[in-house]
Symmetry: C2
Subunit: 152 residues, 2 copies
Amino acid sequence: MTTETRWLNAEQQVAWRAYLLGTARLMAKLDDDLRQFGIGINDYEILVRLSEAPDRRLRMADLADRLHQSRSRLTHTVGRLEAGELVRRTSCTSDKRGVWAELTDAGFDLLEQAAPTHVAGVRANLVDLATADDFAAIGRVFDTVSEHIGQR
Amino acid sequence: MTTETRWLNAEQQVAWRAYLLGTARLMAKLDDDLRQFGIGINDYEILVRLSEAPDRRLRMADLADRLHQSRSRLTHTVGRLEAGELVRRTSCTSDKRGVWAELTDAGFDLLEQAAPTHVAGVRANLVDLATADDFAAIGRVFDTVSEHIGQR
DNA sequence: GTTAACAGGTTGAAACTTTAATCATCCACT
DNA sequence: AGTGGATGATTAAAGTTTCAACCTGTTAAC
């Protein structure tokens, strides 16, 4: 017995494509806004996570998980950020395999400079374009999505 | 006079991050589902657009615009798809600068094979996880986003 | 009819990401 | 204590995307 495919109906199809295209454009725009600070949205997210962590540092694996990135990718990216003096790596004393990625003062300063621009972009191109209810719906849905798909 | 930054409030912050993480996980999952067919979600979207077009072909620039990709990226990707015999390039007769990207029969067959899996993934990991209203909200918002950001 | 500006597309190199292999340490069990 | 299997992180190589330069053909002005 074969299972019949449940295709998307017209409205779902349209919504799905709007999401794909809108997301692509939004990310490109936010990336663009950050270019003046010499970083991309991916770098930005890394700096933010570090800035919020105790002692402004996080274990590499932990950081990778929070960003849903491969460890390898994070190693490369942090390598670049380290070359730019925005992040520093120190070896973890309690687990000798481990490495801390720590935000430098320069990294923190850059983040403070970039944050207003970035937030303004998120507002102007997403948050302020949606009603509060619609934006809440987005949060709800993608929270469920994350939850459902789970860790890699 | 300096403008005060309007930060995101707690709920907005949470929703924004849910969207970022959920989108990352969703795309990774869909990509993964397609790997068994030897293509990624980006290739899939290209094949779909071609399959829907008259004569199953589109001009390169047109296709690039619909996917919000750079022409260069599309050239490279179509080159790979062409090497895999899924797409064929023919020069456009009416505008000698132009090139048609055309879906081959093999490309169409692959698409028919992959589509049920892909659609099932979109449903299972997004559409069916949301209420109809919430999913409609996503369509609405990202449609506005696209509109607002406009062409590159 | 030349010429200048522009549009479609490609190219190659540089930048970035992925994949698979590797190394070191840690943990649990005997 | 010693071994085997995980875990944390990096590396090299391969694959993909971006960026800037380029070539060809079109359009429109003179």
